[in-house]
Symmetry: C2
């Protein structure tokens, strides 16, 4: 069924977008993936290569011979290569640069001067600018050519490429005289600097309700533009990275990535959690004598720990979002804590009663019921307080609370829960 | 400092976007928020109202008298009201509809016929269509007017409003004769149906690399268009909702929301977790006699549970993403499980040795070390297996694994971990 496969490949090439083919490929184990990959046409290979996840790209380059890899890199422009450069070996980058047009090469070199978090690294170099002195008829001619997507305004620059203003595409064609044309140019425009933080610039562009914003350098010269898809893609990438890293994974892990590499990436997080788990164990160990006499305490430990952990993670989720949106500050922190403590008190009392009752039915020991009642209520209150306080402190120390918040929080609620529960048990039950 | 506050309010109105003001307002406790709200101009109030989170909007409407609320609803268009309608009381919706222009009212009524997950509910009604017979000069005139943002193509429709094709804005102006104009019309265009699923349509638009796609109804009539910001906002909203709901919170909870409402929302999740916690306790209870004789088992329980939980959540995070991207299917499931088990085996052996060694140093009991060694290794392997299997099964039953996956998974790893650890302890240590 050699021919069958070929038919399928041809159909896939026709029906699916490059991004979809990349996703599809990543669902195959490496060996099979390479085989399928090699059946695609050169053009598909080149386009799909750009859409892959960095780790998948690396896997592919490592699995193929250099003769198969180099052709993938012959048609990259500056923006493509910038996107790939982090995950490419130097010899591949050098080759790709050598195959570029002189113009793309110089754009690439310029962008490399910017850090990954600067707008300059992310801008597009599509040609949507016209010199100030160009006559209206010439402007109309230029604008009749194929324009890049997301172009509804054209930027006007002076002799030194300094950004003067912008004009809507249809205003250009509406203009019937030079004067009218000049009068349609809007000089009071929003722009971003190539040194701006890409996160802030993306938010600004998305808020501005336009398809792109011009990017200028320190001399106010127009260097490119930031378009809406780039801004949204940046935001989505950040959100996904956070989700992945919060689980102690390395960004963009391939489903079939190298087993040793995957194990190494995940081991770090397991190690960190082991330290916190042994810390909890050590505190439990302090009450060995108590547990020996009242084994029910050991039996109920997971209930105390779990209720504190869940309450805390509800609060912390809300607070992390509030911090990310800049809605939480010194002025309203107290009010937020007050509200979370009220919610914690209501749920604390409710579930402490429920758990106390179940415990009484199970173990028929009123003092044990009282012990767990107080522990649950106390742990849910502490969880509510820590749910605000832990991410707040972490962000003060410039640690991303979305990444490490819940480890710190569960450590706090576990240890507090065990101490109160076992400590109180020692007092009331021995 | 009455005047001071007024100055600040005026400055805020000038400097911040409506969305930023909405975010800012939500960072104030309700009472103060209403006070500040009332100092804004009517226009700002109307615009900011649209940008708020649904729950914040409800809080505001409930806190204000009707006379203050109604003016907020006088200038809504169909798209605005559709966005708000879920969180608005019927009397407010009726009032807003009565204040609309006849055209907006009919658009609103039409969109209400669509379900929330259909494209029809989300489309824009901006005027970017021209009839087929319109002469070139008339077309040019129409297109010289102010066009809505994100417009780089104009859609062409026939007498019955059936979508014929599209033409690039600059091609219209480039055309010098009727023939040339007709030849520039592209009839082979991508479109979406008003009954399409909004999630799939959003992906299609984003993949298409254009600012908008035309929306047609069952008769192929152009009803509106879906623009890029709407598509991305939908995706972002889904991602945020998942994150919030995974913590057992209700979507869009306000930082200062009603305490009773918040408590009620969160109680459900706490209750579900309580059931799973008591399940774990019940299994521990089966080994009461063992724990009484070897208290060290109780001390080390958190370590076994925690290592399984973390390994499992690493795997499940990867699998949930793979499922969402459609990369996991019956064909490659076995390979994925094989890979995860290999990673689990490597980390399992590594950490089982480390934990076994620490346990030996702490308790000086080789059989206890052996017990925890086997338990950790086994639990990490089970966690790796369940990390693939649990989200896979949940998605087969159409349950979103991003929401309930980790509860089910931790229940599995907790219970398995306790049974193996305490069961093996009973065999080896008694």
């Amino acid at each position: 069924n050699e021919t069958d496969i070929k038919d399928v490949i041809v159909e896939v090439e026709q029906e699916l977008s490059d991004e979809q083919i990349a996703l599809l490929l990543e669902s195959f184990p490496i060996k099979l993936r390479i085989e399928i990959w090699l059946s695609f046409s050169d053009e598909t290979q080149q386009n799909v290569f750009i859409e892959m996840k960095p780790e998948s790209r690396e896997l592919l380059l490592n699995a193929c011979d250099d003769e198969l890899c180099f052709p993938l890199l012959t048609k990259l422009d500056a923006v493509d290569l910038l996107e790939l450069s982090e995950s490419l070996n130097d010899r591949f980058i050098d080759y790709a640069v050598s195959k570029m047009t002189a113009k793309q090469r110089s754009l690439y070199k310029k962008s490399c001067d910017y850090a990954l978090d600067e707008v300059g690294h992310w801008q597009n170099f599509t040609e949507v600018q016209i010199p100030q002195q160009l006559k209206l008829s010439a402007v109309k001619k230029v604008c009749s050519k194929n324009l890049p997507t997301f172009t509804d305004v054209i930027y006007i620059v002076d002799d030194n490429a300094v950004l003067i203003g912008e004009i809507a595409l249809n205003a250009i064609f509406k203009a019937e005289s030079e004067e009218e044309y000049k009068s349609f140019i809007n000089t009071d425009i929003e722009y971003i600097s190539s040194n701006d933080d890409i996160a802030i610039a993306s938010d600004k562009l998305i808020d501005s309700d336009t398809s792109a914003l011009p990017v200028i350098d320190e001399n106010r010269c127009l260097t490119g533009r930031l378009d809406l898809p780039t801004a949204y893609r940046y935001r989505e990438q950040i959100a996904e990275t956070q989700l992945i890293q919060a689980a102690g994974l390395v960004e963009e892990e391939d489903l079939f990535g190298n087993v040793w590499q995957s194990s190494k990436n995940r081991a770090v997080w397991l190690g960190i959690n082991l330290v916190t788990a042994f810390l909890a164990s050590w505190f439990i160990g302090l009450f060995e004598a108590t547990i020996q006499q009242v084994v029910a305490l050991a039996v109920l430990m997971p209930v105390v720990a779990s209720m504190g952990g869940i309450s805390g993670s509800q609060t912390i989720t809300l607070i992390i979002r509030g911090l990310a949106l800049g809605q939480i500050n010194d002025a309203n922190k107290k009010n937020i804590i007050a509200k979370e403590l009220k919610v914690g008190a209501i749920n604390g009392v409710l579930w402490a009663i429920v758990i106390g009752a179940i415990t009484f039915v199970w173990f028929d020991n009123p003092l044990l019921s009282l012990t767990i009642f107080i522990s649950i209520l106390g742990n849910i209150l502490i969880a509510s307080l820590s749910g605000v306080w832990v991410p707040w402190m972490l962000s003060k120390f410039n640690i991303d609370p979305a990444l490490s918040g819940s480890v710190v929080l569960t450590t706090v609620t576990d240890i507090f829960g065990f101490i109160v529960f076992l400590g109180l048990g020692s007092l009331l039950l021995l």
